[in-house]
Each structure stands twice: as C-alpha cells, then as structure tokens.
Subunit: 344 residues, 3 copies
Amino acid sequence: MIDTTPVIPSGRDVVRSPMVATAWRHRHLLDTDVLAWPEIALVLSGAARMAEVVTGTRERPGTLRGVGVTTLFYEASTRTRVSFEVAARLLGADVVTVAAAASSVAKGESLLDTIRTLEALGARMLVMRHATSGAPYLVAGHFGGSVLNAGDGRHAHPTQALLDLYTLWRHIGAGDLGPFLAGRKIAILGDVLHSRVARSNLWTLTAAGAEVWVCGPPTLLDGFAAWAAAGVDGGRPFRVTTDIAAAVRDADAVMALRLQRERMTAGLLPSPAEYAARYGLTRERLALAAPGALVLHPGPMNEGLEIAPDVANGPQSVVTEQVANGVAVRMAILELLDAARGRA
Amino acid sequence: MIDTTPVIPSGRDVVRSPMVATAWRHRHLLDTDVLAWPEIALVLSGAARMAEVVTGTRERPGTLRGVGVTTLFYEASTRTRVSFEVAARLLGADVVTVAAAASSVAKGESLLDTIRTLEALGARMLVMRHATSGAPYLVAGHFGGSVLNAGDGRHAHPTQALLDLYTLWRHIGAGDLGPFLAGRKIAILGDVLHSRVARSNLWTLTAAGAEVWVCGPPTLLDGFAAWAAAGVDGGRPFRVTTDIAAAVRDADAVMALRLQRERMTAGLLPSPAEYAARYGLTRERLALAAPGALVLHPGPMNEGLEIAPDVANGPQSVVTEQVANGVAVRMAILELLDAARGRA
Amino acid sequence: MIDTTPVIPSGRDVVRSPMVATAWRHRHLLDTDVLAWPEIALVLSGAARMAEVVTGTRERPGTLRGVGVTTLFYEASTRTRVSFEVAARLLGADVVTVAAAASSVAKGESLLDTIRTLEALGARMLVMRHATSGAPYLVAGHFGGSVLNAGDGRHAHPTQALLDLYTLWRHIGAGDLGPFLAGRKIAILGDVLHSRVARSNLWTLTAAGAEVWVCGPPTLLDGFAAWAAAGVDGGRPFRVTTDIAAAVRDADAVMALRLQRERMTAGLLPSPAEYAARYGLTRERLALAAPGALVLHPGPMNEGLEIAPDVANGPQSVVTEQVANGVAVRMAILELLDAARGRA
C-alpha cells in the first residue's frame, strides 16, 4: 500500500541542492494531507540546512528580505508564535505580531475584514491560529499571499507534525530522504479526539511508512476506528486501541498528547488521578517500548497527568529538541511557500 | 473663499523634489486644522513617493535610521498601530510598542510621567492614541520630540483624514497638487457627533476645495449646524442634513462612519435595524451618487449596520486601498515631522 | 572595613580599554551581592561608553549580533522591559518579548518548562521579572545561557541599583573608578520592607563607600535593624531610623521608594495623607539635606504620596536621568555577561 520507493535520491547532495525545491507546489500550508512524500522530504532536507543557520554555522540566507510575515493568533501561544517569528526573522522577513485576543480585532470585526486589513498593511505570509476548525481554509480563499495554519480547532497543526517528523528523522532516518519510518512503530497516546496534532501526524507518519497506533480512553477515540479501517488517504491503515500496553509495546517512538483540563469537567474523563493511572506515560510503560524509544510531546506538558515527570525529563525525551527543531522546520516551510508564491 | 491658486506647481517634478519639504513647519501632528494647503500637498506628493517604497519599486530610504519611534495606545487598535509601525520600520526607525491598556502604564502613573519615561528611553517620535480629547496637546507641551495624534477621543485623527484625502487624490486628482476637490461633492454619513474622523476630514476636505455634506440622525449632529454656518476655519462652509438622499445625491465620494455600538444603549439611537434602514449606506442609496462614486470607511466596518455588505465589498469601495495608503501617508508624515524637528 | 584602595586605575584610559572586562566573572546577574568593587567599576565605565552609543556619538557596537535576548515578565512593566529591549537592540541582539501575564505561559506550564522552551527557541540571555523572590536563582540552575534578574518579589533588582549608582557617579564621582561615595551620605526613604530596590542598593552603595541611612515607618523596617548592625556583607554597617529629619540631614542624595498602594489596606500603614505628612519627601525636608543634594526615585512615582510634586519635578530631581542611564547601564551589563559566557 505504501510506496517505499525513494522518490528522490537520498543523501547529502540532495540536502544541499536548492533545485529540488521546484517540486513544491503549495502556496498555503493548511494541513499535511496534501503533501506527497517528495514534498515532505523537501521540508526535511530544507530544515537540515536551516538548522545550521539556527546554530550559526551557516549564514542567514535573507531569502525573505522585504517579505511581510504577520502572526495572527486568536488563541494565546508562546511556543508556536515565537517559533514562527524567530524563523521569519532569521530569514530576514519583516514581522508583525497581532495578538487578536488582546486587540481590537476581537471586537466585532469579521475575520475576513481583518485579513484584508493585514494584507493591505503588507502581510504576504499570514501565520494564523484560530479556535474554529477550518478557519484558515476560509482565509486562504480571500488572502492574496500564503496562509500558514498554526493550529485550527481540533483539525490540523501541520508545522507541528512536520517538526515531529523531522525530530524522528534526525534520530531514526537521518540522511535517508525516502519514507524512513517503514518497519517502525509509533504510538500516539491520550486525547486523540480533540487533537489537531494527532490528526496532522497521522498523515505524515503514515506517509513516512510508519505503523501508527493511537490509544486513549474510549470517549476520546470516537470516530477513529472507522478512519483507521479505511486508512489514511484511503490506503494507509493505522491501529486504534484503548490498551496502552499494546500501543506502546515495541514502539520506536511514543508521542504523548496534551490533555486539556477542560475535558475533565465535560464528563469525557474520570478524575485526573485515574487518567494518569490508566493512560499516563510512565517509566514502567515506556519500558515496554523498544530500547531507546523516543518520547515526544507537543507541549506544554502537564507533568504527572499525561506524562510522568521522570519520563518528560528523562534521557529518552526529545521534547526540547522538538521545540528547537520547530524553528528550522518553519524556516524551511516559509522559504518553500514563498518560492511557490513567487512562481505562481 | 477658497484659494484655488495652485500654491506650488503641480506635476511629477514637484513630486520628485525633496526641496519643497522645507515648506513644512510642524514638529507635531495633532490635527489637520493647522495645515495650510501647501503642507497638505507635501503629504500627498510625499506619500506618492513612499507608495513606491511600500510596493518595493523604490529602495527603502532609511531617513529615520536611528530614530526612536514609540507607539503608545491607551485604546486598542490593530489597523492604526500596525500601520504606523510598518511605516516607521520601512523608514529604518527603531520601533517600540507600548500597549498602555495591557501594561503597568495604566496603573497609577500619570500620562506625563509615562511620556517623560518613554522620552528618556529613546523615543523621539511618539504616536499616541488616547480616549481623552486633547490629551496629545498636553503631551506635546512636555515632550522633546514629535507627537503624532493617532486618535484622541472624539476630537481628531489627522493621519486618517490625510490618508482619506490621498485615496481621493489617487482617483480624482492624481498629479494635481492644487486643491483638487474644487467642484466636487463629498458626503460623510453616520455618527458625526462622536467622530474624530469626521472632524479631521472636514478640515482637509474643505481645504482641498470640496463641497462637504455631513448627514446623520439629529441626535448625532448636535452642534454641527452652527459650525457649518460659520464655516471651517471661519470661511469654508459645509452642509448639514438628516436627509441621506440629499447628502448622497451626485456625490463624488461617500464616506460612511463607524457606529460605536455603545451609542445604541445611550439612548441616542433607535434599534440597529432601524438605524441601518434609515442611515445605512445601501446599494440603492449609493445609486443616487455620481456614477462610479467612491465609497470610503475608516474601518473596522459594521457590515449591515452603517454600510451594506455589498457596498462595503463592492466595486466602488476603496476601503482596502485606504488601509494600504495609510502606510505610505504615515511614512510621508513621519519624514516631514522628523525633518522639521531636525531644523528646529 | 571598606577597602577604598582604587583597585583599578581610574581615568579615561581605563574607560576606553576593553581589556579590563576580563575581570568580570559572572554569567548571570541575579543580585548585586556578588559584585566586587572592580566589577561594579566595570559596569560604570562600560555604561559611560554605552551612553555615547545611546546619544549617537559612538557607533552601535554590534557585540550582541546574532545573540537571542528574551524578556519574560510575569509582572507588567513598561520602564524596565523597554529599557532592556532598547539596550539589547542597540547592541544588535535578536529580541523576543514574552509577556507571561498575557500569554499561554501563564496557564499551567511550569516556570522551568517555559525556560527550556525559550532556550530551545534561541534565547541565550533571559531577562526575567517574577513575583516570587528567588525565582531567577531556580531558573539560572537550569538555563544554559545568562539570566538577568529584572526584579524578583521583594528580593532584588540589580540593574536598578547599578543604574542608580551610575547616576550618582555621573554627578558625584565621574572619572573616579574607586569607591567614589566614601564620606558621602545617602538616605533611602519609604517602604524599605517590600523594596527589592532598597536591598540591591544597600549592596552597591556600601560597596562604593557610602554611609547609608534607611528610613520609614516602623512597620516597614522590620528586620533591617539587625541587618544594619551586622553590616552588609558582614562588614559594612548602615543606619536605620524612623526619623526622616535625621535620615535626610546633610545627605548628598535622597532616594524615595515607591509605595505600593496595597500596603495601605494591609494594615501596615496609616492613611495616604498621614503617610505623606510623616514620610513624604517634601521641599522642606529636602532643605535639610546638603545643598544640591540629588533626588532619586525608581519610578513610577506616586506624586503627592512618597514624594511631593515640586520635589519630583524640581531642579534636584534626577529621576528622568535614571531612566535614560538605565539603557546605557543595561547595555554594559549585557555585554559583560555575554563575554563571560563566551569565555566559560
């Protein structure tokens, strides 16, 4: 089902060549579902180059000089917003921050009016987070530049999925630009139902060839069994279980999802203590995974709830790496989208 | 009454010459009332140059390099604040943002203490918005640099009036640096009483030679009949009416004002539905204006209230152009004020 | 007790030489208590150089180019935050602002998680303010870069103390890089108990050789008598009194502290009027000090409460100078810490 033919030759030469970037055809990044493997590979190789810019061993490229990048966050976020802003500045862009919750934008102005205003003020790339699933699609239909979805409701968080994949690639597949997770098992644990991170990851992880297991309380898996059976993209099945031991056993990587505390009061969950006992990623459970299995979390973590403190901060955790990789991955994405817009 | 002699020669040569800038004598921009026509013409021609910087066809001039520009907003605003910040950065300034509502500034520190502090921290140009009419005048008396009024209570919003005029000039008067609205009719509709936009526009539009009509419910026109009879600057009369058909008929441009929703509850207005029915700018009413009449609005728009959605987004609307022009106009103003301060 | 030997030669040659900076050994600045006099002198001489950058008579040095400086304020502040940000930018740093109160950081993420995230996002120097005394010490133990304490609870505010000392040095000791306050009397008035400014100043002022008097209502001096008797650093005694006349008499400088209004309701104080009458710095009281004695205040001032308006804005007040000096002092500190980190 999964095409494991390396669609572009792997190796450092490819990583170095800017030529392959012409394979990227998207002006917006709204979700990972439209990304074919060669496009995902472009993000990985681009991010590897950008990581050298981040660490200062490669010069800042200046490829976005004079390009207006605006962040528009209707939900508060430090991690994702700052990551995008640092990425855009390292590329030389002109960055404008609009915290919608704290601004007049929130009061009675329609989303589309706001978007038109920001475009008129010079925004060419719009990084947006919105509580409503699908909002960035609406915006993309009316915005002359590029829209980057930084999280929309429970729907999608594509740059998070790509930075998760890049983090796995650095450890498991570095150098291999084919679907490097073939034969690997990845477990995603927790509040799958409300997780835009899980949804976007299902597309990229299965595209990379992984056997994905999602696991959580039955109330937080609603609808996933049907999707799993049909398969991602109609042909890449995954596994759904409420048995955390089965999910974690022999996994090469385990991703714990953040539990929104408001789910507790919505009747979807037992008490925090019971949730932690049944579905928390503890040291004992992690011991079931493959030796040296990686631990990922999109952050911010509720330590002691969905993840035990000693796992969160243990030697197998790559949570801090994920954050650092996020800057490089977002730089690669900004550059690819900008180039695609230039060609359009 | 209106001097229609072109006080400076019109044409592209003038637009290109920085020499004429010596005619600008103001260190602050508190309102449009003190601007003689040649000064307004300098803003128009300067903005035309800056528009090329905004679109990237002219190099960023760097005329404000090393100059500290601080925005101090006691009322939330995205549009105006971002516009000023983008303008200042395009000129190379060092920009500092102070959102007074969200900062310690709000708590018990006097306005003048805040201003002294910001000046000591390097502010040379202070862009301020304040709910109290006249606040920028107080500040200007104590600030060593330039004060730019970005809206004070119901009193004035000079950069909005100048960008409105520039937008009209691009369509109606481009190239003519004389009072290009002579023989033209402009209608201003809505909550005139509380509108700093209307007040500042009355000065610039009549200076440009326009026949201005203001129109709204009688409760929102209080005091304007007397001003209209005396004339702006004691010699440029305008018209006041509650009859929207009379105001709009044969107008070359119609400006709808934002209705603050709190006016509804203050007993000044009937229901929103009734207000929209009686004073909203609809397609039918716009049809009374001259063919191709321009539709302006300072934003953000209450679509369906003071302006119908099909008019707001229709072919005659220049609302988005106004926003885009705002950056160029503010660049021109920043440069003129900075140069005047340098000469002082 | 106090070593008044000039430990480094004073004079302009020293001010000009970057060599002496190798005497600075601290990667963090958490309080002034660890600073030996030669280190304090490095800040003074460095700030004198940086003051020329601030005024534009010396080129921006670019010594922090490519260095990520992040401000993380859990308490709102305009003065201190903007001061640090302007300082960092004048040195060429990449500045990121995180207003913790207004961001997702505040919600359920631990301080250490936030710090790890900010470091992963590129922060090399972290400027933090926190309501909990000691919080920056915890952070310094986990942060790979430099931590700058911008105020923690009632504990310390080291950059404020150093800018206060620099302000005194410009007036009293300029050119002398030895302990220039030997034989001078400095009075600190007001809410000493809750004041991080007073605590950090006690270290630097006594290190500079000053005879320091602290004065306030008995409820706001709790514990200071014992410290005064033991002496700062076990060997530099100071004076504690409730008699404002005794404190101010013949002082060379008087520092009024900000009174937090919530102290009023906590039963620690009489009414505002009574507090002002008994402990406010009035013109009459200032007349007891040495002729031309300097008046300092860390701001923001409650005029009419701890300081009379005519004193706050009178000829002896150096409050605005303090703010301006803050930028230069923070530039010097940022450069010293960055260099020390580079050597570590």
